[in-house]
Amino acid sequence: MSTPHAHYGFAERWLPRLVLAPSFLLTLIFLYGFIAWNGYLSFTNSRLLPNYEWAGLVQYATLFENERWWVAVRNLGAFAVLFIGGAMAIGITLAILLDQKVRGEGAIRTLYLYPMALSFVVTGTAWKWMLNPGLGLEKLMHDWGFTSFTFDWLVNSEMSIYTVVIAGLWQSSGFVMALFLAGLRGVDDSIIKAAQIDGASLPRIYWKIILPALRPVVFSTLMILSHIAIKSFDLVMALTGGGPGFSSDLPATFMYSMAFTRGQTGLGAASAMMMLATVAAIVVPYLYSELRKEQNG
């Protein structure tokens, strides 16, 4: 009876590895492999097609001298702060309001969450119509008689990035609300009741007890929103096309136009590496803290 036992041992030892091997290999090649390839390209003089001659930091130097890149970086800063902060604030507020045991909560929740079901391209196109001065909001107000009303951010090169913020908020706030609502429902009722018995007011209960208990939700939401912000591409393309001019460019749209339409593959690769570094700056400390917590716990 020793043979079947040996077989079982073999399977036990190798089966998990065999099952995991393909996906491990695919991740290794198609994620880390291509990151490495892109990293190498950013140190070459690649033009139309990749070439592999080492050129040092030329592309990074060109990138940092490029005015359009800095416009993209500044835009990302403004967009990220307003988008993440705004979506969190609106989402939490909506979640708290919905948590008051209102009637028809299911329907309202679906309504708020629904924008998330649309792609950013659809969101962008819809808001493009609504914000166009000759077509949407401004025209509507004029037709109603408020002729002094102006809202031309979409076609104003100094304000165009904020229209991206508006559309982004509309899209993502409902999603943040859903996450927080789930979190709120997970808070132990007995603690809240105890606080109520002690005579704490509702806002105080939220501020001092419930929200601190939602720390993990806050962190995962922040993670999701910040990486949406950094890789945001389709929203800008559909809403403003990066314009007027290049005033609403983000690093992602910058990278695309350099690498794919301007024959500057090397420069595009360098800007992609800068984006990766930005994402890493957020993700790595988060993973570090999470993993350390696991070890301690």
Binding site: L48, P50, P133, V155, P244, G245, G263, Q264
Partner: protein, 414 residues
């Protein structure tokens, strides 16, 4: 086991077939109405010569998507037989060492004799033909709705001073003078016409063909930029991001009186049932009557190993340059033939005028490449100059002097 065998036999048979029929795969981005019709003509002619046509159409007017698709195919070592590439990009692809020569066909058919040197030079890489031209677009056109001009009692402008008088008269009559599409390439298309009209042919060549920094930042360029910016009050503020054909339809529908755009705009007028000379006018942009900014569509041939595929490539090159194809294609596309030896009887008034000007300017030196349409600069340089122009147009705080400095800096991008 049986199934496997059958499958193997079937797949080897299919392989054999695909090797035998000379298949010509052509990447192009002619997907809109008139363009698709023109591509269908090409297919018909190629199949008439016993070739198997394989369509590789990638949607997206400017060809950006097509170029992305092309890059992946070339990088993977599997290029199509031919692709729609134009201008200095042909040289860029040549530098990558992936283009094949069609010099044999060109010599046999005497292309050098029927193409103006400015055109044939673009089609050659290191002295050998690697691409075949199919048409010539003129970019420096001004499209006019004559009815609106009559309403405002305004004249058709021939100089920039006259243009601003006409525009002011139109505005006074409550008509929007200029239909404008605010996309970077359109900004540059208009700017290019202004440069040619204000600075003249030699200035244009020095600035945008030779990329001379002193010319780009000099006083004439400042004047050009100021004139360009003076157009802005005559456009509407919804112009930002507008497609060119929407701007054209504003002229067609009488919502605006004029538009600066290449002769592909004619296709929109004709599709709307308008008659050239009566419902709409095509005139050279102010001050550019003796000049011609050209934009030439062409097909570059890729290096292929298979001998029968090379034969197909030569057939394609010969078909593209044949008088029959050049005529029928350009009647559909709104442009004029690249060959200068064809009769223009079947073409409309604008086409005839364009052909006459093309020949005249070719002999007198007024034929200049359109940089806004990728005929004068490498794509990186062109992109940087686009950025400078579009930034100046959209930023009302930037002075013309600063913009000129930015142009000179952009031209250094290689």
């Amino acid at each position: 086991m049986r199934n496997v065998k059958m499958g193997l036999i079937a797949s080897s048979l299919m392989l054999a077939f695909s090797v035998q029929a000379a298949e010509v795969e052509v990447l192009h981005y002619w997907t809109s109405g008139g363009e698709a019709k023109a591509a269908a003509e090409l297919k018909k002619m190629m199949e008439g010569k016993g070739n198997k046509w394989k369509d590789f159409a990638v949607a997206g007017g400017g060809g950006e998507n097509a170029m992305t698709a092309l890059k992946t195919r070339v990088v993977s070592g599997n290029p199509p037989a031919a692709a729609q590439i134009k201008g200095p990009s042909i040289q860029e692809w040549g530098d990558e060492g992936v283009l094949g020569s069609i010099d044999g066909v060109a010599k046999k058919e005497g292309w050098d004799k029927v193409l103006p040197p400015v055109v044939s030079n673009v089609m050659k890489y290191k002295g050998q033909y690697v691409a075949a031209p199919v048409n010539v677009h003129r970019v420096n056109w001004l499209w006019i709705n004559p009815e609106l001009l009559k309403k405002a009692n305004a004249k058709v402008p021939t100089t920039w001073d006259e243009f601003f008088v006409t525009a002011a008269a139109l505005q006074k009559a409550g008509i929007q003078p200029l239909a404008y599409g605010g996309q970077p390439w359109q900004d540059s298309t208009v700017f290019e016409s202004v440069t040619l009209g204000v600075g003249g042919v030699d200035f244009y060549k020095k600035a945008f063909v030779q990329l001379d920094p002193a010319t780009l930042s000099g006083p004439t360029m400042v004047k050009v930029l100021e004139t360009y910016k003076k157009l802005k009050p005559f456009t509407d503020k919804n112009a930002a991001g507008r497609e060119w054909n929407l701007a054209t339809s504003m002229v067609i529908n009488g919502k605006a009186a004029m538009q600066f755009m290449g002769d592909w705009a004619k296709g929109e007028f004709l599709a709307a049932g308008k008659v050239p000379g009566k419902d709409f006018l095509c005139v050279a942009a102010p001050g550019t009557a003796n000049a011609f900014t050209f934009n030439i569509d062409s097909f570059a041939m890729f290096k292929l190993k298979d001998a029968s595929a090379v034969k197909g490539q030569n057939d394609l090159a010969s078909t593209l340059m044949s008088p029959a194809f050049q005529e029928v294609f350009n009647l559909n596309k709104g442009s004029i033939p690249a060959r200068t030896d064809l009769a223009m009887d079947k073409f409309d008034e604008c086409g005839k005028k364009s052909a006459v000007d093309f020949k005249a300017t070719a002999s007198k030196g007024g034929l200049v490449p359109s940089w806004a349409h990728g005929m004068a600069m490498k794509s990186a340089t062109q992109g940087a100059v686009y950025d400078a122009v579009t930034q100046f147009w959209n930023n009302d705080k930037m002075s013309a002097k600063d913009a000129a400095m930015k142009l000179a800096a952009a031209a250094k991008m290689k």
